[in-house]
């Protein structure tokens, strides 16, 4: 359990850093966010101004430390302030409405991409010099392509030119969100194209890493022994070589999650998908600083949580984490 405890402590530190960075940014950045907001939103009432000033640490007389503890207290009560642009909506309400869209879409797409990429990586390493292996440069091109550019091309081809998929929004107009079949089917239909772009662009990285580790693993003696024993190639490939080669991929999952989230955020803007990325975009364009920071915090914590899950999977996948007393 030492491994898990250590990781838990690490993520606690990481979460604290995220929370503190979130507190520090408006205070160390040049310029006064509140003044910008007053200039932009002259209709703000006195109460919300006061709340904003407290949040950004301007015109308040409390010391930095007391501000920090007020901030932590607010956070503990799930209070992220009020959105300026969507006033008087709470930041937490806005995020709660949009987060599920992102979680479901990005979660599903990332899982598919991870599984598919790892499988293709296994195959291309197993058949070195085969057609899949030789197609690698094409996959590197996909890896170097910005997510949203591929999304633009996909929209052009599939939605505008051929009309196979709908463009934009999370579901058809005229439907109201609910657990009924017309809505769910429409939501799935609208999510296929965005999900496809995520899968295609992020798959290459898993595939490449899996291939490179797998190539090294295949050269190990125990793989040779397994082949010499006369085990079926499939068994050697999956239970001997791939099983040992997959560990870096699982470990890398946590680290790459930040990139996946980043790509997904931009993707949502291209597709006008009603998730947290689109909300972030709207917050940026309207200088809605409270919402901006709330979104940053929620995304950071969500990524940390996902990393922790990946670590727990790693704990079960790699027996070394269970026997060693320390790292």
């Amino acid at each position: 359990m030492w491994f898990i405890t250590r990781r838990l402590a690490f993520y606690a530190v990481a979460a604290w850093v995220a929370i503190t960075v979130n507190f520090a940014i408006p205070r160390v950045m040049p310029g006064n966010a509140v003044d910008t907001l007053i200039a932009k939103y002259p209709t703000l009432d006195a109460n919300s101004l006061k709340a904003l000033e407290a949040e950004f640490g301007t015109h308040t007389h409390g010391s930095l430390i007391s501000q920090y503890f007020t901030y932590l207290g607010n956070l503990a009560h799930g209070n992220l302030g009020l959105s300026v642009n969507l006033y008087p909506a709470k930041v937490t309400t806005v995020i709660a409405q949009t987060l599920p869209w992102t979680l479901i879409l990005v979660g599903t797409a990332t899982t598919i991409s991870f599984v598919l990429g790892t499988l293709l990586g296994i195959l291309s390493a197993w058949r070195r010099g085969g057609w899949l292996d030789r197609a690698m440069p094409a996959f590197t091109f996909l890896q170097a392509t910005p997510y949203f550019f591929l999304a633009l091309v996909a929209i052009q081809l599939f939605a505008v030119s051929w009309g196979l998929f709908p463009f934009g929004q999370g579901y058809s107009l005229g439907l109201s969100p609910g657990w009924d079949w017309p809505f769910i089917s429409s939501a799935i239909y609208h999510s296929i194209l965005p999900a496809l772009t995520i899968v295609i662009t992020s798959m290459a990285a898993w595939m490449l890493q899996m291939r490179n580790v797998m190539i090294t693993t295949i050269a190990e003696d125990y793989v040779l022994v397994a082949q010499a024993k006369g085990l079926s190639p499939r068994r050697v490939m999956f239970t001997y070589a791939a099983r040992n080669a997959i560990l870096p991929n699982i470990a890398g999952f946590a680290l790459s999650l930040g990139f996946v989230v980043a790509g997904a955020l931009v993707m949502e803007i291209v597709f006008s998908y009603p998730g947290i990325g689109l909300t972030l975009y709207n917050a940026v364009t309207s200088d809605d600083f409270p919402l901006l920071q709330g979104i940053f915090l929620v995304i950071s914590l969500a990524v940390l949580l996902a990393c922790l899950l990946a670590d727990i999977v790693y704990f079960f996948a790699d027996p070394r984490t269970r026997t060693r007393t320390s790292y």
Binding site: V13, R128, P137, T140, P146, Q156, N212, I218, I299, V303
Partner: protein, 307 residues
């Protein structure tokens, strides 16, 4: 000797280096050879025009020349990418080597810092930070990008330093009374050049993709031309809905090519360091390709030869 060296260079690395060279060249001479002023509009024009003889890559909705925007915008993207790569790699080398060489408490602290920065999602953080700094130029953006981009390299360099520190030749240098800075600079650093180069290349790739994404989000100086701002204006002008592929495809393809030059260079560096990854030297036995690193062919894999 140089010629032989060059021949030994993996083909992927050569292609990558050539691509990078083209981009750097365009970044230098682009603004001079641009046929039009990228910002100049054609009065009265309301729809984007496709590629034609005057405008080789077509125009935007307001009649701005896409090719000129591309040639002028290359500089900003390339400079930002390379500048970030430079600053972040410097940070990574200094932090990674100090952590690896000093060990103990400084190592614990620096490693923790690197790991925390690795798991924090960079893009939302960058959006928030740069959201407060609108209209920032290349240098502030590069500094903010570097501040979040160093941990990848630092981790790898730290691990390598840790292993090099205990090698015999380092111990010998220490015994012969060499100073610490001399050991670090002349004994350890040269053995990490490949790693440092790979981390530079990786960081540049990150910087390009992130900066383009940021500009696309509108968190950049939108009055300047870069691949990111081009895509931003294309998206803003509904280029996709209008079917004006010539408006958004060129900057996107350029980003992908620039990124690909980095990925290919990285591949090449990997292959230089790990001969097993090289594609050369494979032999065809029966239906399958065998390489020097593979185990000796096992008979049951080749039924046609046993017959």
């Amino acid at each position: 000797m140089w010629k032989r060296r060059l021949q030994q260079f993996p083909a992927k690395a050569k292609v990558g280096a050539a691509l990078l060279g083209i981009f750097i060249l365009v970044a230098i001479i682009g603004p001079t050879i641009a046929p039009f002023d990228p910002t100049a509009t054609t009065p009265g024009q309301a729809i984007p025009l496709g590629p034609n003889a005057t405008h080789l890559l077509g125009t935007t909705a307001t009649g701005q020349d896409v090719l000129s925007q591309l040639l002028v915008g290359t500089r900003s993207t390339v400079v930002l990418g390379l500048l970030t790569g430079l600053i972040a790699t410097l940070l990574a080398v200094v932090i990674g080597m100090s952590a690896g060489f000093l060990g103990g408490f400084p190592d614990e602290g620096l490693s923790l810092l690197a790991n925390v920065f690795l798991v924090l999602p960079a893009l939302p953080l960058l959006v928030v930070v740069l959201g407060y700094l609108p209209h920032s130029g290349e240098l502030p953006t590069a500094i903010v990008l570097s501040a979040l981009g160093w941990p990848w390299g630092a981790r790898v360099i730290r691990a390598q330093t840790l292993s090099l520190r205990n090698r015999d030749y380092v111990a010998a240098a220490r015994e012969s009374g060499e100073r610490t800075w001399r050991i670090i600079l002349f004994e350890i650093l040269p053995n990490e050049i490949g790693l440092i180069a790979a981390s530079f290349v990786g960081t540049v790739l990150y910087a390009i993709l992130t900066s383009v994404a940021l500009a696309f989000l509108g968190v950049a100086d939108l009055s300047k031309w870069s691949y990111g701002t081009m895509l931003y204006w294309a998206q803003n002008g509904n280029a996709v809905q209008l079917g004006a592929w010539w408006w958004y495809a060129p900057p996107g393809i350029c980003v992908a090519l620039f990124g690909m030059s980095m990925v290919l260079l990285n591949f090449g560096l990997d292959e230089l360091g790990n001969p097993r990854l090289r594609a050369a030297g494979s032999v065809k036995v029966g239906r399958r390709t065998w390489r020097p690193s593979d185990p000796t062919p096992v008979l049951r894999d080749h039924p046609q030869e046993t017959a």
